[in-house]
Amino acid sequence: MVPELGRPASPRRSGSDLLAGAWRRLLALSRVIVGLALVAGGVVWAIARGISLYGLGPSGFYDDIAQPPLLLVLIGVWLLFRSRRR
């Protein structure tokens, strides 16, 4: 009898195990997904409604930032930053 060559067979995993594993990986990526969605939403909002520019001084900078589309982008970027593995 010829011995079978190649890699040893990996233990079989059931469909529910695969689904559970995929769900856990998706949960671990939830911050990245939500962060990207917020950035995309903010960009679409800014394109659709427009944003105002108030200048680069301290007061103007606050007025620039405190606009809903930019706030969404900021929160999205911050969430992406906080999604790093630790």
Binding site: A28, L79, R85
Partner: protein, 179 residues
Amino acid sequence: MILTQLQVARAHWLLGALFLGLILEEYLPRATRDGRAARPRSLLVPWALMLGGVGAWATTVFADVVHDMLIHFLWGDILFLAGALELARRRGVYERPWLDAVLPIAFIGCGVLFIVHEQIDPGGPAAHWHVAMGSLLIAAGILELVRVTRRRAALIPLAVLPLTGFALALIAIPVAAAS
């Protein structure tokens, strides 16, 4: 000193962004080094709650209507108290089982104040917004209260949906409706 309606709206948008960041930080799991999802217990959350409380108190100074002063003062009290208790717990200074209910009860309390705000000024331009936002907060608080009393360790609790809806409503509130 009376703020313009645009300045009032900006304060609401900033508070909404702070709240959105706070709840996503609290309720979305983080990936650990081995790729697993784990529930974060960040110290940023209680600090953000207390910062929101200070912002609500500041409104008391700038508001030009008595019921706005009273309601924002009470919102500030609830947010600051919840933030202080959460901070004590996360630092390990004070640990009691009932502290699990602090955030849900804070959500419900703030939601009830939204409804009270609308009841005092039912004809105001923000009446519908207040009812919607108050209902979302109350729904989130009840969902969280049920979860913590049943000791269910869901990685993403259901309450994150109404809480996100509330924060997005606060960010999107029109200038004319901000009060």
